[in-house]
């Protein structure tokens, strides 16, 4: 009975704790957010929500924020975006690729409202796009994995074969090669961004096949926890996931949207907002590495140095010479890959086995 009682108390507390809401105030500028998942996913949406909270913290006296969570990419998205515009939101961040067309359509209907679409490539006068150079973080992870892995096999859980993900795999491989030219990366595609069960299955399968480090381009913590179960190492995704696997996480790529969101909100307030395309990386603080943990100090020092060099621009993750799988040179020695090539990357570099799904 005691247990049931405690459960009942917990349930009641849960219900009560939903009292949070946006405090309405007439003279504050309203900024809206459309989320693909729940803010508590500890992945993609969580990172965006943290950035929203940063706006509240820095500009809370002038700005009020609202979010709509779990908006499916499809016929419902445009309605949710338009509803934010109708209810007086002057700047609206739409935080998933699939919102591209709905954002453009809503922007056409509300020319006075500014829109910011994450990871897209279509812009308008009142629609800006932004994305982050996460591949820089993947490069650092590759360096660490190349140094730490004993079996020389890395398990890579990939979501969808889009340039963003392919770029990450290639950057990881480039980083790993600098430490161990014979390293193998086994890529498994789960065709989902968020399916804890399948992510855990993929991690188990990769570990069964000898991977002693797991990295993922999917959003849940399941793979990290599966790695923790078997006592091997893994990387966190989108946010610092160290609390889920204190002895497992080597580091994590943190999506630090905060500075950008604050800057764009300020630009709106002082009237300097303009449509633009932003693709920032470590240098601008949009990609941040979580503390380097669970590794020898020499590896941590190497990782820190790589991180610093990428941040200051001393190093580019895609520095030539780089060959594709067929051995054809795609980036010459001494050169670096240009943004056009990076943005549309749809090939594996040399050293990765397997074929890219079509």
């Amino acid at each position: 009975m005691k247990i049931l009682h405690r459960v009942a108390v917990a349930l009641f507390a849960t219900l009560l704790s939903f009292g949070v809401s946006t405090s309405a105030s007439a003279d504050k500028t309203k900024v809206g957010f459309i989320y693909i998942g729940p803010p508590g996913d500890h992945g993609w949406t969580y990172a965006h929500d943290q950035a929203r909270l940063e706006i509240e913290k820095e500009l809370g006296d002038q700005v009020q924020t609202t979010f709509v969570e779990g908006v499916p990419e499809g016929p419902d998205a445009e309605r949710a975006i338009a509803k934010l515009a109708q209810t007086g939101h002057k700047l609206i961040f739409t935080t998933s690729f699939g919102y591209m067309e709905p954002t453009l359509k809503a922007a056409k209907r509300f020319p006075d409202v500014k829109f910011e679409h994450a990871t897209g490539y279509k812009r308008a006068d009142n629609v800006a796009t932004y994305s982050a150079r996460f591949y820089e973080g993947r490069y650092v992870q590759g360096v660490i994995a190349g140094k730490v892995s004993k079996s020389g096999v890395i398990g890579y859980i990939a979501s969808f074969p889009i340039p963003e993900v392919v770029r990450g795999i290639n950057a990881f491989m480039l980083g790993a090669h600098t430490q161990n030219p014979n390293i193998k990366v086994k890529v498994v595609w789960v065709f989902s961004w968020y399916d804890p069960g399948k992510e855990a299955d993929a991690a188990k399968v990769l570990m069964d096949q000898g991977a002693d480090i797991i990295t993922q381009h999917t959003d849940s913590t399941a793979a990290l926890q599966a790695a923790a179960d078997r006592g091997i190492h893994a990387f966190g995704q989108a946010s610092d996931m160290i609390q889920f696997a204190p002895k497992t996480q080597l580091t994590a790529i943190i999506d630090a949207w905060g500075p950008y969101y604050v800057a764009r909100t300020k630009a709106l307030l002082d009237g300097s907002w303009k449509s633009q395309d932003t693709w920032d990386g470590m240098g601008a603080g949009m990609v941040v590495m979580a503390p380097f943990t669970n590794m020898p100090s020499d590896v941590a020092a190497l990782a820190q140095k790589t991180y610093d060099d990428l941040r200051t621009g001393k190093l580019h993750a895609f520095s030539g010479p780089i060959n594709d799988q067929s051995g054809k040179q795609v980036v010459a020695a001494g050169a670096v890959a240009d943004d056009g090539m990076l943005a549309g990357m749809n090939f594996y570099i040399e050293g990765i086995d397997g074929e890219l799904p079509k």
């Binding site: 500890h42 299955d201 006592g231």
Partner: protein
């Protein structure tokens, strides 16, 4: 090679377990003549309350039981509506899934990102020795064995026990079962509640052992697969076992094939289980005797005793 096969088989069994639970429950429910399409919703309810229970009490097994209990509660809503109030089973089942998805997301919101001490395997071999054959038999967590045991018990119950026969009679002809004097509604209530218990336990297994975390919609369609599985098994419990390993295992095999480098099976491969279910359905249905032996004749038909 053994190094790969043994852990793969282990993983397949883990993937099959939530399906075994949910499908066994649904099978008993359907055998009594009730089609409950709310399995997905009940699994989610079981997953979230199981997880909350484990967080609050600190004991994953207590959480597991709470998950099962919450599954019963969810199924009783369905039972009251369809059996007492004679609402349409298909529509009510779908409403139960919508309700369960919303309820679980609501009560679970504060538990996203919590960690628990998961349900652990009975025996883990020394990592340095690599996998061995003993592991295949003793290396699962207790819930895996429980699932198989309950499934076997259900097989025995349905085919050999008196009450099992009554339950089948109720599913095959509610009117005659009622005429003989069996309490049709009460038996169906029990069958629906059993289905809820099993779906809840299957859901709780997801959040307590499979991936020890709570996330919205984490069952990711497994409840619907369980429904397909019952048909695939042509309402025979033993075939549910094979079907669950096959349905759960196909993902594992597919991921293994990718990791070995045998190419990426696209959407076509993922369609196979569903195509297979249709083929099985056609095979068993086209033979009139066989379908009569297995499929409950009164499935999804409303019944009210007109006294």
């Amino acid at each position: 090679m053994l190094d790969l096969i043994i852990p793969s088989m282990m993983t397949m069994m883990t993937a099959a377990t939530p399906l075994i639970f949910a499908a066994t429950g649904e099978l008993v429910c359907e055998k009594s003549g009730v089609l409950n399409l709310g399995v997905e919703g009940m699994m989610l309810v079981g997953a979230v309350f199981g997880f909350i229970g484990a967080t609050v009490t600190g004991d994953a097994y207590v959480g597991f039981l709470i998950g099962g209990f919450s599954g019963i509660m969810a199924s009783l809503i369905f039972a009251v509506l369809t059996l007492l109030l004679v609402s349409n089973q298909v529509a009510t089942g779908l409403a139960l899934t919508i309700f369960g998805t919303g309820l679980s997301a609501l009560v679970g919101a504060d538990y996203v990102g919590e960690t628990i001490d998961r349900i652990r395997p009975l025996y883990v071999p020394n990592a340095a020795d690599g996998p061995n054959v003993i592991q295949l038999f003793l290396g699962h967590d207790p819930v895996v064995y429980l699932g198989v045991l309950v499934l076997l018990a259900c097989a025995g119950f349905l085919s050999r026990s008196r009450w099992g026969m009554i339950l089948r009679a109720v599913g095959d002809s509610d009117v005659s079962a009622h005429a003989i004097g069996y309490p049709v509604i009460r038996i169906r209530f029990a069958a629906v509640a059993f289905g809820g218990l099993m779906a809840g336990l299957g859901g709780a297994y997801l959040s307590l052992a499979y991936t020890p975390l709570w996330a919205e919609n984490m069952s990711a369609g497994r409840g619907w697969i369980a429904l397909a599985l019952v048909v695939f098994a042509s309402w025979r419990p033993i075939r549910v076992l094979f079907g669950a390993v096959l349905f759960g295992g196909i993902t594992i095999v597919q991921l293994n094939a990718q990791a070995i480098g045998l190419g990426i099976p696209g959407a076509v491969m993922s369609m196979l289980p569903y195509l297979a279910t249709i083929v099985v359905l056609v095979l068993i249905s086209s033979n009139a005797t066989r379908i009569r032996l297995n499929a409950p004749a009164c499935l999804a038909q409303p019944f009210r005793p007109e006294r």
